[in-house]
Point group: C2
Chain length 380, copies 2
């Protein structure tokens, strides 16, 4: 049969057609009035996407670059930071902080569970921390954190709140200014539906002040340099022009759709997915606080999740993600963030039913889709 | 919610991504060695798509242009032709033949039914006809004709068999050479998954001979001129270069997928659709011989089909076709030909269930998809 490739991975996500067209038309020099105007507009529209009046800086890097930038721009040798760690991306915060020689403490939750705000608050009270580093949505496990409570706890203890919201922005409500989030990190290949290669950071006035005193070594990633350049509509270094022109289209799409609608869409698809897979007799990996970015589904007892992932790819050209780290082979992950809609979710659930049946996990045909339909009927 | 536009119309159909990319790269002059090589390859690949050793000509026109070309290139004033007419496209044959002053007889079936081969054969025996004009698949009603039997009847009575296979090629088995089809007409925006603007005609040696004597007036559409040009890798007139480069990609895709697989895919999607809509309590318009190109579904008693079509568009951005002519408002049509796959069919059936419920035609949620899933489980 004919099989169209579809990404149901939590980044990269399906590309917005207008963004693809923009990339194909990106023969442009970056030190020109035309490009500066586009860049200024992108920075302005990023404020709408973030819903913040803080500065928003744009880096030509992956999201990990903007994570490193937060560490190197905000701290000094000898500073202590606390990492709320609930999966592979929490571990990445720890690795970065340690690579820069910070005194790094961890408040941890097992894979599949969120770090609780009470635990974060208690740990913050145990010692003077310069910053609290955490994920809004831990993509490796499909678990969301209580961003508002974490930020309040950090503020209470005089620590900067630094959130990797790479799969949180445009996916879950994040009130950057209202909740007092100091640094909020995003990436291009998530809810913004363009390829990887750009990262963003909103930076509060307090964080900018602290960055002036921060003594860790940095060069490529510099808040001070980006701020100076951005005021003229420039990037510090040669920027990824094709992706920035794509981003302009993506942000235009988000403005037209509405940031709240983009978020509600992911929440709806996640809810329908959870209902569908449970109706198919499958278990959710997130024991509580499931993320709207991605739903991690446990492979049935005795079935390597790679068998399911391969069958979805071979039989339907649907690309879904494996578990990460210690969860590899034990779960598969279906994404909802960005440019997805309900008919394709229903279609992918139908494909999953057929695949589960074919590997011996008997599912009443249509049962998963019916459960999703009931969510849709109530929500649409 | 986020809504991606999807065409479920029987032409234009969803575009092949590689073809879109080719159109974006179509800055090319048509009288160059590069373009001639591409054009020659396209003509060669069209032979594979058709499965014929006959000449295949390419016109920069819509399919109707190639229909006119068949009439103007093959007949002379005073000739009689027989049209097998079972819907709007059958009526188009009649209009063209009459516009060129031919003595035009009709063997007709009511909308929703095919013309039977026996009726065609009987009528062909009643008078000397120079040609038999018919559709392989009557797109307005979703009904297929017995192309092989029609061709045999025409040959038996010394008439050329001229088939509009615009929604038949790549959709249903058509053995051009084995069945002795004299002219087989195709268009770009159907199973080949590129935009409208190109039409094709395979022409038998017998038809080419007859065209030399045919005296109807013609200029733009000339088999003789195209044959001469094609041998040099040229088109007679300035061709639609962007679409031809897109067609090159599309034909490459068909070669890789396999013509038989493209046909089997449409047949499978059509079968699953028929099962799904019937499980939803809806009636098929085609009383027999349903086409794999498009399924025409009757609107429930008292419901204008425009209400369903509008709701699918407004609530899901799914574009489906209305009935045509006297069937407008009475049915809607879901297409299967070309670049469609099963997950998107299942998703569109899910959307249709929700829409039918919302307009008061109660459907058990999931019932339509379940029926499609049962077809898929047996076929995939």
């Amino acid at each position: 049969m004919l099989k169209k490739q579809r990404l149901f991975t939590p980044g990269p996500t399906p590309l917005l057609p207008a963004a693809m067209a923009a990339m194909a038309q990106s023969e442009v020099h970056h030190r020109t009035a035309d490009f500066r105007a586009a860049y200024k507009q992108v920075l302005e529209d990023l404020h709408y996407f973030y819903g913040t009046t803080n500065d928003v800086f744009l880096f030509t890097s992956s999201g990990t670059g903007a994570m490193e930038a937060a560490v190197s721009n905000l701290f000094s040798p000898g500073d202590a930071v606390l990492v709320a760690q609930a999966g592979k991306f929490g571990e990445r915060w720890t690795e970065i902080a340690k690579a820069f020689g910070l005194s790094t403490d961890i408040v941890e939750a097992p894979y599949g569970e969120p770090v609780m705000a009470d635990a974060v608050r208690a740990k913050l009270g145990s010692r003077k921390y310069a910053g609290l580093l955490f994920q809004a949505s831990e993509t490796s496990t499909g678990v969301a954190h209580d961003v508002q409570a974490f930020a309040a706890a950090a503020a209470e203890h005089g620590a900067l709140s630094i959130v990797d919201a790479i799969t949180g922005l445009g996916v879950m409500p994040i009130d950057v200014d209202g909740w007092g989030l100091d640094v909020v990190i995003g990436g291009s290949q998530k809810s913004l539906a363009i390829p990887p290669g750009l990262a963003f950071a909103s930076v509060s006035a307090r964080a900018l002040e602290q960055s002036k005193k921060a003594a860790l070594p940095r060069f490529y990633f510099s808040y001070a340099r980006e701020k100076k350049a951005a005021d003229k509509g420039d990037a510090s270094w040669t920027p990824s022009t094709a992706l920035i022109l794509a981003l302009a289209q993506s942000l235009k799409f988000v403005r037209e759709l509405g940031r709240e609608t983009l978020i509600a869409n992911a929440a709806f698809l996640a809810e329908a997915t959870r209902a569908a897979v449970q109706a198919m007799g499958l278990q959710l990996f997130a024991k509580s606080s499931p993320s709207s970015a991605v739903t991690a589904v446990c492979s049935p007892e005795g079935v390597d999740s790679r068998v399911i992932i391969r069958a979805l790819r071979d039989r339907f050209n649907l690309i879904v993600a494996n578990g990460q780290g210690s969860m590899e082979g034990k779960l598969f992950r279906l994404a909802h963030l960005g440019y997805y809609d309900y008919p394709e979710l229903a279609g992918s659930i139908a494909a999953l039913e057929l695949v589960m049946n074919s590997i011996g996990h008997k599912v009443e045909l249509g049962a998963g889709v019916r459960a999703a339909q009931q969510v849709a009927a109530a929500r649409l």
